[in-house]
Symmetry: C2
């Protein structure tokens, strides 16, 4: 395996586990059994390495998501929200074939990107892969046309939060769940449970009152 890929693989799991700030290049290179300077030689800087780790997933995921969502948008029968969100399942699980445990690390990394390093990764993703977002909002708009654009904006970010947060702590949660309920569970099981939750959240009835002053 090439040095470049050894670095990417090691960085992948370490970033997911300990965050971008929390992982040093020395940890990465010693885990990958390559020389410290290899990162700067092959990627230029740590920041570029982070981008490369994410791009590896996004380049695989983005076209799959786009086609799955566009399929839903142009279907004969009007899709419901549960179907829209389910469109994510297969592309996400396909990451596991492309790379072992790809789903879980990718979603963890996504969560890291939102909180670590003050959202530079969010900027990177939305500017580099804008089609995923527009196709997604389009699909939701078809499935739930009554939802105003602003309300949808918020609910989609709530959904983003649910998914990303859940997956970034999924290992810990699965451990706890295994102990308390001795129910065999994996990442697919968690996805299966979170879909009804977010679908119901986005489909929630629209509250009329906003920006009101709370009574204290």
């Amino acid at each position: 395996m090439s040095t470049k890929n050894k670095i990417l693989d090691a960085a992948d799991v370490l970033f997911a586990d300990k965050g971008f700030n929390g992982t040093s290049l020395r940890e990465i290179t010693s885990q990958a059994n390559v020389n410290l300077a290899a990162v700067n030689y092959h990627f230029g800087s740590k920041k570029e390495l982070i981008k490369a780790v994410m791009s590896r997933y996004m380049d695989e995921l983005s076209p799959q998501l786009e086609s799955a969502l566009s399929l839903i948008c142009h279907a004969e029968t009007k899709p419901n929200l549960h179907e829209v969100f389910s469109a994510f399942i297969e592309p996400l699980l396909n990451l596991n074939e492309f790379k072992e445990n790809g789903t879980s690390t990718f979603l963890q990394l996504l969560g890291r990107g939102y909180t670590d390093s003050q959202g530079f990764l969010r900027w990177f993703l939305t500017t580099q892969y804008p089609n995923v977002f527009t196709n997604f909002t389009k699909a939701v708009k078809i499935a739930y046309p009554e939802l105003s654009t602003e309300e949808m904006f918020w609910r989609l970010h709530f959904t983003m939060g649910t998914i990303v947060f859940t997956m970034s702590s999924s290992e810990a949660l699965i451990d706890i769940a295994q102990n308390d309920f001795d129910n065999k569970l994996d990442i697919a099981g968690v996805i299966e449970r979170v879909i009804p939750y977010v679908a119901a959240g986005v489909a929630a009835p629209i509250s009329k009152i906003h920006n009101q002053v709370m009574s204290s």
Copy 2:
């Protein structure tokens, strides 16, 4: 104002903004206009400072939450989920009187604690303030008794994720929303929007199929 409080106030906003790992003691002490060594003198270590910042909020919040939830549990009429979640609003907004922008920084800090430093803060909170969690699950159990303990476990963590993630990126989101919809919005407005979402998510119909193998 005492040196101790100057440090706590500065650490509060810096931790919320840049994370625990991302904030140095030198940033904190220079922001607080105190000597660098003051942190170790008054708190012992950075880790203890983090605990102190969180405890300041939890000691204020925890009794309020407990009584609000216990009020709901012992009410004459059976509460619904929307009411259970709304019980959080007032105690959270009260943090703003106790400290300017207390709500937003507290929830941001909570989000940081879940992702930064590999969840040592989650351990700290669940062991130091267990009553909040048990009272909350009790209230949900009353409002939605059909929900199995395991299903509830997951949905409450989904909810945690939604709230924490939303609030930790709330400033950025509010900025975007202001621009795109020129709708005046503050932290209370965001809370007002997220409550129906999480209430609907937790109240979602129970899916019968779990742990199934996904078709590929």
